[in-house]
Symmetry: C2
Subunit: 206 residues, 2 copies
């Protein structure tokens, strides 16, 4: 089992999530998905600024995400009007995970694609309803659930759980006691899945 | 020509610097070394905390550096008494670069090895003098130079130049208009040196 933590507003999360399931299956693992909130880990707990608002690093990240998308052969579009508020899509995720677990993976990919491939605003409830409907779920039921305390508490608990585990970035992969952060570290995850240790890479052996 | 920016207090800088020259030579490039100061870019310009003082991320980085060192087959030791002040070694670097350019690369590697392989404190002038002497330079002359205005101004200018170029982290590699940050992105640098574009990686092609 590979735990995968992500925030839908994270473009690096998109690039990692789109690739990790195939990798997990190659080594006989399932993925356990966890939505988290970068706003809580980065700003409240770590005391940092949002990535794209950080001088120098923000500009770098915008270019970096685009070239990684190209290297990974994934379509990618930067949103024209900034990052969407992250809470509605994260709550919707737990509605799917808790009630229709078999649709979780498809929902994660559909929401990420809507935001980062298609340039839609996934903070809009209507967009989330459309995605749910496209997966055979009741969009109306999702809309009702999004207003309730159940999902509010569920997300709050999930964010607390991710912080307790030490997760701070998106995407983060956890296998056993190993935590691996970053869409550009899938090679490292694969090394661990294959070998179960950090023995030198072939090209670095003396 | 590959411009390589680094701070001697950066363990990720050590892991990158130890590998980049071989890679550069493979593609017929020289390395132009530039010491910078993370304290200025990270704290003053970006408004962030030092990596190891950042909750969650600091603990992660300590584990992450150790496993990367293992994967890269590089000896590595975390300093027992925290990070050394970065200024003396950075000034010493410019003394070597400006006066004995042919020794620059050896000096960079020797200082990084002293700190991160051997666990010495490279903020001690005596350590820097020993390193200079071991390379056939006048340790005494370095000691005198470290107290002067020339190196103070030289480092200040160099840090300004790195910031103007957008460099914020260590190590950072620049080739033409492409800036690549991180010891774990040498594969990306190699891709660019080889192809000159961001065409999809073989394993990601449909």
């Amino acid at each position: 089992m590979i735990d995968v933590y992500f925030d839908f507003i994270s473009p690096y999360g998109y690039l990692g999530v789109m690739q990790v399931e195939k990798l997990a299956r190659k080594y006989g693992h399932d993925v356990n998905w966890h939505a988290m909130l970068l706003g809580v880990s980065v700003m409240n707990v770590m005391g940092l600024k949002p990535l794209l608002d950080t001088p120098l690093k923000g500009e770098y990240a915008i270019k970096d995400v685009a070239r990684l998308a190209s290297l990974y052969d994934l379509p990618f579009k930067m949103p024209e009007h900034g990052m969407p508020p992250p809470v509605p899509s994260a709550r919707a995720f737990y509605w799917v995970k808790d009630n229709f677990p078999e649709k979780t993976s498809d929902f994660v990919c559909a929401v990420y694609n809507a935001q980062w491939r298609d340039g839609l605003d996934i903070s809009q409830v209507s967009i989330l309803m459309d995605i749910a409907t496209s997966l055979g779920l009741e969009g109306q039921a999702l809309q009702v659930a999004l207003d309730g305390d159940v999902l509010r508490n569920r997300l709050r608990e999930a964010v607390g759980h991710s912080l307790k585990r030490g997760v701070f970035g998106s995407p983060t992969f956890v296998v056993g006691d190993e935590m691996i952060w970053g869409c550009d570290r899938l090679w490292m995850l694969e090394h661990w899945l294959q070998k179960g240790n950090w023995s030198p890479l072939e090209e670095n052996k003396d």
